[in-house]
């Protein structure tokens, strides 16, 4: 709180005081009152106004300085009321009361939105489980009738399945308190599941899948990690180059405190100007616009899930050469001790 601005605010008081003082002074002079009395009265009057202004200033200064600095320090500024002392002046009390009411109504609003969101998320989860049943029926029906049905039916159903899966994990990643379960799982099995899921697409596009050393036990949620790797491989398939020896290579690097899982392809790569944005929500970039319809959600969700699981995800690429995604999974001593 600045003194200058405070005095500026109280300018009217000072002016009235000065006017009264001048009138008083003129009266004193007109009545020819003794000069020493005029001096004493003047000193008293000036001390009086200065004391009043100082008291007013210092009462407010402590309160407002505290308030403003706390607002700055808190990451949730709306909690500031809990951190300050009650003011001992009337307008401060009104301010606090008003803030309290505003906060309360905002909280109620947020709570209602939150519960709406939770309802919506629950509905989405339920809906996804429901929609998977007809999809599962379709998969079985096309398989049982594969002699008369073209392969393209299966491909479309697979696409449907992938999009549904993406919605599910989006709902989970945005709003997950306890949707995941960290467990000791076999990385090999996770890779194997993702590979089987993408087998037809990889073979169809003549992309070789090279899986090197993945015999590790890691701590993660296997369903989530499967989804993450699946998104990355989907991208590799989507953005392959029209060359003869396309591949997707999966490998690991074992360090003392972490395992780095790398998924590398020799596809069209990512433009340098796009690479830092690929994990952003709905970012499609040059590739997404030119090559194929892209929602820009896959990698965003993947990164979100990684963060929740405590993994790190990084990407590097050279246009028309390769793209390499690394997932860094830390080895947790805590779990090892538990065993």
């Amino acid at each position: 709180m600045s003194l200058k601005k405070f005095l500026n605010d109280k300018l009217y008081l000072i002016i009235i005081f000065l006017v009264i003082y001048i009138v008083l002074l003129l009266m004193f002079l007109a009545f020819k009152i003794d000069k020493s009395l005029i001096l004493v009265t003047s000193v008293i009057l000036f001390v009086f106004i200065i004391v009043i202004l100082s008291i007013e200033y210092f009462r407010r200064k402590d309160f407002y300085t505290n308030l403003l600095s706390n607002i700055e320090k808190l990451d949730k500024a709306y909690l500031v009321l809990e951190t300050i002392n009650k003011p001992n002046f009337y307008d401060g009390e009104i301010l606090c009361q008003a803030l309290y009411e505003v906060n309360k109504s905002m909280m109620e609003f947020i709570n209602s939105i939150e519960s709406q969101m939770n309802d919506f998320k629950e509905y989405i989860e339920m809906w996804i489980h429901e929609v998977k049943i007809p999809i599962a029926s379709l998969v079985l029906m096309t398989h049982n009738n594969s002699s008369i049905l073209d392969k393209k039916y299966e491909e479309q159903i697979k696409k449907l399945e992938n999009y549904v899966e993406q919605v599910l994990y989006y709902a989970r990643s945005e709003n997950a308190e306890k949707d995941y379960l960290i467990n000791e799982v076999s990385l090999n099995k996770i890779i194997s599941n993702v590979a089987l899921k993408n087998k037809d697409d990889l073979l169809e596009n003549k992309i070789d899948l090279i899986v090197l050393n993945v015999e590790y036990k890691i701590y993660t949620d296997s369903k989530w990690l499967e989804f993450i790797i699946n998104q990355i491989i989907n991208n590799s398939i989507k953005y392959k180059r029209k060359i003869r020896n396309s591949y997707v290579k999966i490998d690991t690097h074992d360090y003392e405190d972490k395992i780095i899982l790398t998924i590398e392809d020799n596809g069209i790569g990512i433009q340098p100007s796009d690479i830092r944005k690929v994990f952003d929500k709905t970012f499609t970039g040059k590739n997404g616009r030119i090559m194929t319809k892209s929602t820009g959600m896959g990698l965003f969700i993947a990164k979100n899930l990684c963060q929740k699981l405590g993994h790190k995800i990084e990407i590097e690429s050279t246009e028309n050469k390769y793209t390499k995604v690394s997932i860094i999974i830390s080895k947790n001593r805590y779990y090892e001790v538990l065993k």
């Binding site: 399945e161 379960l181 089987l196």
Partner: protein, 220 residues
């Protein structure tokens, strides 16, 4: 023929699943009355149960818990819920495997075969004519001629053997290979089959594997 019991409330899936299993050489049974499921299971005495978690009257997990008190029949849980916690819970109740809808039918069949094999309920001994087959070592032997098969060739031969005299599609073979972490491509499969052919020829079985154009292969 192995008896497989399907416990599933969605009619379309149930019927399609039944015909998938019939076509793959299993005898499939269906339960219509879920209230009395346990007794029906015990009555039918299946070799394996495919159990959906979301069935009416009784939750699949509960049914499994109750079933385990009375029987050790292999159970594969089938569900559209794909949370890790559901899987862990089901396994802790005594499920032998857990598969999420929508599943790839070929993979479901492989899982069924694997569970049957693991639980020792599979007494189909792999025999091909006078051939001496050592799965573990990857060796086939006839009289004094011994031939070593690679891992891929063994997987293919094993699959053809378990489906003897039936047409096996390339996709089935491919799925089995990938399921065994051998991520080979189409060319490699062709090469592996022709190598397997010539190895079988060298022990005296020429034309053991016939090609059915556009459909697949048959071991006869």
């Amino acid at each position: 023929m192995k008896k497989i019991l399907i416990i599933e409330d969605d009619e379309v899936i149930r019927d399609e699943l039944a015909s998938l299993l019939q076509n793959s050489g299993y005898n499939s049974f269906i339960i219509y009355n879920f209230e009395n499921a346990i007794n029906e299971i015990l009555e039918i005495k299946p070799d394996l149960v495919l159990l959906d978690i979301n069935i009416p009257y009784i939750n699949g997990e509960l049914l499994l818990q109750n079933l385990r008190k009375k029987s050790n029949v292999p159970v594969i849980m089938v569900t559209s819920r794909n949370q890790e916690s559901d899987e862990v819970l089901s396994m802790s109740y005594g499920a032998d495997d857990y598969i999420t809808k929508p599943y790839n039918p070929n993979i479901l069949l492989l899982r069924i075969a694997a569970v049957l094999k693991r639980t020792g309920n599979n007494n189909d001994i792999l025999i091909y004519k006078d051939l001496d087959i050592n799965m573990q070592k990857g060796i086939i032997k006839r009289e004094d001629i011994e031939v070593i098969l690679t891992k891929n060739e063994m997987i293919i031969f094993n699959y053809l053997l378990t489906h003897q005299n039936k047409i096996v599609t390339r996709d089935e073979l491919m799925t089995d290979l990938w399921n065994n972490n051998e991520y080979i491509n189409d060319n490699a499969l062709t090469v592996n089959i022709s190598r397997l052919r010539s190895k079988l020829k060298s022990v005296g079985y020429e034309n053991a594997i016939e090609t059915r154009k556009g459909i697949g292969y048959i071991l006869s």
